[in-house]
């Protein structure tokens, strides 16, 4: 990572934890996991709480749908680390790799329901252009999505607009496919806390 403190500035107990994770997972500790352990009182603790609430808290969207939103927002941002991490998690959660690939390649022709498609389209516009208007929201609501689901999708978008920026600014190392699959298993078993 571009800041040396994020590579080696951790407390001894945290370094030991990283060594144990690496030993048992047989994969390097992902930089996304490391970041939240650096001065956790500044960023990590509250970031984990928010991200867990957005991705695993109560919502009418399934975990698979929310991971797909995370992968989609990351694709619009061209955030390589987050695209790989959350497309792996979305594939495992949905057990439907072709659907995940289709959404990320061409949302308009992908085999998903109208509500999810309209929601992803709105998140993509917000992420790319920095704005959406009432017409954008009417289209999502008229596709059968509830107001609360829109708010929940905006929370997912906020989590990954934040994490993706940090991944690219700090320079998270892109893992091997096996590393991303192991990370995805962890996120589905334990969540983001």
């Amino acid at each position: 990572m571009r800041l040396e403190i994020l590579n080696s500035g951790y407390r001894p107990g945290t370094k030991l934890l990283f060594a144990l994770i690496q030993l048992f997972s047989r994969q390097p500790v992902p930089d996304a996991a490391k970041l939240v352990f650096y001065r956790p009182d500044f960023y990590g603790s509250r970031a984990k709480e928010f991200t867990h609430e957005a991705m695993r808290g109560p919502s009418a969207w399934s975990v698979a749908d929310r991971e797909l939103m995370a992968a989609y927002v990351s694709t619009v941002n061209e955030s390589a680390f987050c695209v790989a991490a959350h497309s792996a998690t979305a594939r495992q959660a949905s057990q439907d790799g072709p659907k995940v690939a289709a959404v990320l390649a061409d949302l308009e022709t992908a085999p998903v329901g109208d509500g999810l498609r309209a929601t992803l389209r709105m998140l993509g516009r917000l992420t790319k252009e920095g704005k959406v208007d009432a017409d954008d929201m009417r289209q999502v609501l008229s596709a059968g999505v509830t107001r609360q689901q829109v708010a929940d999708a905006l929370a997912v978008s906020a989590a990954f607009n934040t994490t993706g920026r940090l991944a690219d600014a700090f320079g998270f190392a892109v893992l091997s496919p096996e590393g991303f699959e192991a990370g995805a298993r962890y996120l589905l078993k334990r969540g983001y806390r």
């Binding site: 403190i5 709480e49 920095g130 959406v132 009432a134 708010a151 905006l154 920026r165």
Partner: protein, 107 residues
């Protein structure tokens, strides 16, 4: 209006901490990084990229900020403020557009 949901409240707690809690960068610098506003170079270049084109951040952006006297811990904080600030603006823009529709329906 939608009530302030638990997810937005959790993001607000993160915003409040990074802006108003203890830090190595001054609260004024953190607020400016969060707002991507009123910063001088070289920090303005780094923060602007984090906010609007993060894939274009380079080692040289960090090197320039270090050479201007910013410590690694200050840059850690200011980059986080820039990322959270931009995301908060997007989040609020989305919720505001949703509130507009809900408001119309209730009139």
């Amino acid at each position: 209006m939608l009530s302030e949901d638990k997810k937005r409240a959790a993001y607000r707690a993160l915003q409040d901490r990074i802006l108003n809690g203890e830090g190595r960068a001054s609260p004024e610098q953190r607020a400016r990084a969060f707002g991507n506003d009123e910063l001088s170079q070289p920090l303005a270049g780094l923060v602007g990229k984090v906010a609007t084109r993060p894939t274009q951040v380079t080692d040289a952006d960090f090197a320039a900020a270090r050479a201007a006297g910013f410590s690694e811990d200050q840059l850690f904080e200011l980059v986080i403020c820039a990322a959270v600030g931009q995301s908060a603006r997007l989040y609020d823009a989305g919720l505001a557009a949703l509130a507009d529709v809900v408001g119309e329906e209730e009139r």
